[in-house]
Symmetry: C2
Subunit: 209 residues, 2 copies
Amino acid sequence: MAIRILTISRQFGSGGRSIAKDIANRLGWDYYDKDIIDEISLETGFSKEFVASKSEEAPGKTVFSYGFESHGIPGIMNGMSTHDYLWTVQRKIVRQIAEKGKPCVIVGRNADYILKDFEGVLNVFIHADMEFRINRVLRKYGQSEVKIEKRLNDKDKKRAVNHKHFTDLQWGFAPNYDLTLNSSKLGHDKCVEILENVIKGSENEVNKD
Amino acid sequence: MAIRILTISRQFGSGGRSIAKDIANRLGWDYYDKDIIDEISLETGFSKEFVASKSEEAPGKTVFSYGFESHGIPGIMNGMSTHDYLWTVQRKIVRQIAEKGKPCVIVGRNADYILKDFEGVLNVFIHADMEFRINRVLRKYGQSEVKIEKRLNDKDKKRAVNHKHFTDLQWGFAPNYDLTLNSSKLGHDKCVEILENVIKGSENEVNKD
């Protein structure tokens, strides 16, 4: 089965996004990441910042997270919580991307789960040692007020809770992915090489059309 | 850092052991699997069957699992439970193998955790889809009385509890490994190729001595 969609889930600071971009470039595939946030923002009317923050956090259960309370748009959100409403839109957009039929790389957004009934999808998880992640985040974003290690652990926890909430699967559990890579141990280039090799080797059918 | 030790943890029925054997053959590395059971048996006096069954099951907490109750060898097991006693012997043997300094592949035995302070170790986890595992187990071992899927789930659970008990780490959680592979999705040959490529690429220092 030729792989035509690569989903990349990753720990913050692992360089997973940068690996994803490089593979998309090398293969000449479409690349989706923040674009999905933009689409959700466009469709829902929420700001990009709001969508981005909500789409990674642990869904709240207070009444204030419900649309009819906090946004007053009954009829659109149909009584769903903001998280659930954003999830349905995200799900629709990710599926539309896949249904286009153009080979692509999708970063995050629980795309692995959303596309579980699609064929030709390779699901990858990228992680790295804490020290590597701390250094990468420091280099890229500078120092924040919150201690970096705590911030990374919080991010991991939020992503795990979000993933569990919407997919009932454990984020980062190997059997939920086809391949997982430790980018700090293997290095960026080796990760790209492995994924490119797997995709190109998948019957070499990808570039025929 | 040249990789000199490959540890393979795997789901039962994933073909992980067969992948491990092939890599050892290709690289000309030593291969340890059941040999470790034999060594533990030799050192403790317990039968191979007993060691094999104990070393994968979830440690019991009843008084009957304690050496001084069930085996009456005070002084040797020093009041430890049978599981803890076997663990200390297993730990010693795995470390002795690593200390030999000869490149090798070690299957199972929590070797990833036991060797966590050694350099040049690549920790890999191999899993597969349930259907693939069922077919493989049926083909290799025939039908058992217990429904195969239940048997596989039980095996997974036991390995997970055993691993958690002795290492405090979650078995199969991607960040605890350098690389994890879905053998049913990628295929046996691709798994071997990826691992061989990673090992040979690690500074090509492995075969210098």
